[in-house]
Each structure stands twice: as C-alpha cells, then as structure tokens.
Point group: C2
Chain length 257, copies 2
Amino acid sequence: MCELLGMSANVPTDICFSFAGLMRRGGETGPHRDGWGIAFYEGKGARCFHDPQPSVESKIASLICEHPIKSHVVISHIRQANVGRVCLENTHPFQRELWGYTWTFAHNGQLSDALFELTLKFYEPVGTTDSEYAFCWLLGEIRERFTHQPNDSRMLYRFIREKCQQLQQLGVYNMLLSESVHLFAFCSSKLSWITRKAPFGKASLLDCDMKVDFCEETTPNDIVTVVATEPLTHDEVWQSIQPGEMVTFVRGIPQAE
Amino acid sequence: MCELLGMSANVPTDICFSFAGLMRRGGETGPHRDGWGIAFYEGKGARCFHDPQPSVESKIASLICEHPIKSHVVISHIRQANVGRVCLENTHPFQRELWGYTWTFAHNGQLSDALFELTLKFYEPVGTTDSEYAFCWLLGEIRERFTHQPNDSRMLYRFIREKCQQLQQLGVYNMLLSESVHLFAFCSSKLSWITRKAPFGKASLLDCDMKVDFCEETTPNDIVTVVATEPLTHDEVWQSIQPGEMVTFVRGIPQAE
C-alpha cells in the first residue's frame, strides 16, 4: 500500500507541515520506501518532483520541506511497490494533458489483471504500474465523453465517480486527481480529510514530534483542506470518506453533486 | 531569445559542468531572467524541474549543480520571455505523452502569429507561448502520421525535419526534442554541438571560471554529446548545425538519415 496526500486551498499555501509527516512514513515510521512524488499547481502550471529513492533520505524532499512552495492544489504520494519495479517511470504522481490542463493522478491500492483488458483510447502508460494504466484509461474515458470541458461541473463529478466505482470493482482504488481547479478524492478503502479555517487551532503530527499553530501561519479568510490516506495529526477531528464515494474540493471547499 | 542545452550519452552522465555554464546566463552573464527548466531521462522515465525564477538565483538549480543526476538524455532551457507572461505554465521544457513515451520539447526563437492558425489535433497548450503551441502541433502531426512507433526510424527523422522546416518558415525555430532514446536537434539560426569521447581532454567554461578534466570524469568507452545555442567552452571545437538542418543523436552518436 502507499500513502496519499492532497491539498486544496483558497490561497497559495505551503504544505510543509503535512509533507513533513508524510515523508517520515517513507522508510522511517512507515514501510513506503519505493519512491515518492509531489505535484504543486501554481495557476494552471504544475511543478512536479519525482524521486525513486525513499523520501526520508531524499535531498529533493528536504529541499521541499525547507523552501516551501505555495500552491492552491497539491497531490503527493509515497510508494510501497506492488505492481511494477522501482524506477522513475513507475513513480507517482502521473500527468497527462486534457483540454489544455495538466491532469495529475496518484493512486493507493492494487487492481487485478482484468484492468489491463480495459481498452485505452488516447493515453498510453510509460511505466508498468496498474496505477498509471488506470489513469490512462480514466482520462481517456473523460476525453471521449467530454470533447470539451463541460459547463456543468456536476456532470463531470458524476462521470468521474462512476468510472472510479468501475475501477474499484477491480480491487483497492483510493485516488487523488486534479486539473488545477478541482481536487477529486475517491475512496475505496481509506481516505480522510480535514478543513482548517478560522478560528484556527493547533495541531501535532502523528509521525514526528512537530506541532504547528495555524493561527500564526494563516489569515482569517484562509480555507485549507488536507486529504490523506490516514489522519496525519492526533489532536484534530478528520472526516473519513465512505468507500465508493468521492469528494470534490474547489478552493478548499467540498462541492455539492 | 533563449538558451538551449541538450545532452545525449551512451552511459548515464551528469551535466553539471555544462549546466553550471548555462545557469550563469540566466540573469548573470546573459539576459535570460524569465525562468528555466531541465528534464532528465532515466530509462523511459523523465524527471523535470521548472522554475519561473532566474536560474542564477534558483535553489532548485543549485540543488541540481550540487547533487548530480545521471542521465542518458537531458534537455534544458533558460528563458527570456517574448510571447507569454512569466509563469510556471509558460516555462520550458514542455512534455506530452505519445506511444507510451514522454516527449520533451524546448524552443529558442519566436514564431509569427500565423502559427496559431495551424490546427491542433490531439494536444492543447496549457500556457500561452508560441513554443508550446508549436510543440502541440508538431507532436499531433507525428501522432496522426504514425499511429504506432515506426520500425524505420529514418522515416520518423525525415518527417520531424520536414515539420520543423515548416515551422521555421514562421520565424526562428531552434528546437530540442526527445522521447528518451533520440535527441532531435533542429537548427533555424544557431545551434552547436560537440561529441566528447576518448582520448578525453580538458575544457574551460566561457561563462565562469570553471574547468573540467574529462579524463578524470569518464571511462574510455564513454560517448557524450552536448548541444547548445552557442558553444559553452572556449578551448574545444564545436560544430554548427546548418540552418534548416536537423541532427539526431542516439547514445551520443549522430544518426545517418
């Protein structure tokens, strides 16, 4: 299994605090030694870092912790390999372009070989993971159904959820997906989220001795949602997404379907 | 104008020496202050770093200089903006997937507005540069002509060169393009290359007081080709590519058409 971390915020926000916790699971408090990656959206642009090395030993991961990149949407992943050897092209998150947006995808879980019978119509995997294959299929389905970006976003939410439910029938399929505006979080077994907004409190990481007082880091209008495989802090109330459900966030706020 | 830097090698090689020279042109010895980017191929995987900040001030650029990433193929670019504002989505190199390969593209020059009348068939730009539009068009043309990767690579070389010649009619179009195996270098006004192999000598950078003795860095079987907008060293003989011509490198060796 792997660990997912996502963020959706209404102001450019750094994810250092949460990322510091996740990183420790990459070979220290967790068994996820098979690489890690993180994508930061700045406007429509996406900056992506990949490293097949364990995150706890990674110089690039240290750089990200020390020199915060502020972003509206973040998707991160640390990997414990099941399908596909440990190498750069098998390292999440994966990216493809659709409608002039860079789509970013990370997956936690494992899908059966029946996945590879699904027909790919537009996108082909570069590596050999079930995850990238699922992403190529999913994005190809979206592209076929919606030639252009739909005006009614709820049609898109429903379509993505249905396709994720189809993938879920092939195994475990927890997913984070974004095109820069929306953060789509589909839960097949475990995925939790928390929205931090005024009045802000304090929080302590589960994975290392690190606390933050969000009052000192934020303004009263900030809304910041963090999504993770498992809660990252022990003194806040996280919400679980129910298996088979998807929550879509825009600027930190969960959207109605 | 911008600066291009490419590498093709038969062994994983670090590009620190050449990159150090290029980086100085990003706001110090050159006027290219509008961001920079670099892509490293490791097998089929590609690791890409983008920074809209000047390279000479960039912490990520320092990290790359200090912690060499060894690669068979590298494409790098530092930007002096003409078309498109300075932001992440306008920062080269650009990437798209075709045939299960990540294609990487960087451009030096400027193309007329007639470019935007060319029909895009598969790929759409995320940003607003002429360069990314040209890349989307070029890759779409390749995709339409070759549904699958052609067995005869020379057909592909010829097709890419013809399409580049078509783009060149719209302005200045120096280009580096790769899909992990080939490095395609098309010259419209200036592009030079040098192949370093045994017996290796010494070289001194033009842009800063830095020398390297390649004997100490290499084995006798290494073949390393560097392509750049202008020669990076003053004590080696660089070859110019003629305007309208393309040289394709595989494992450091120029390929016959």
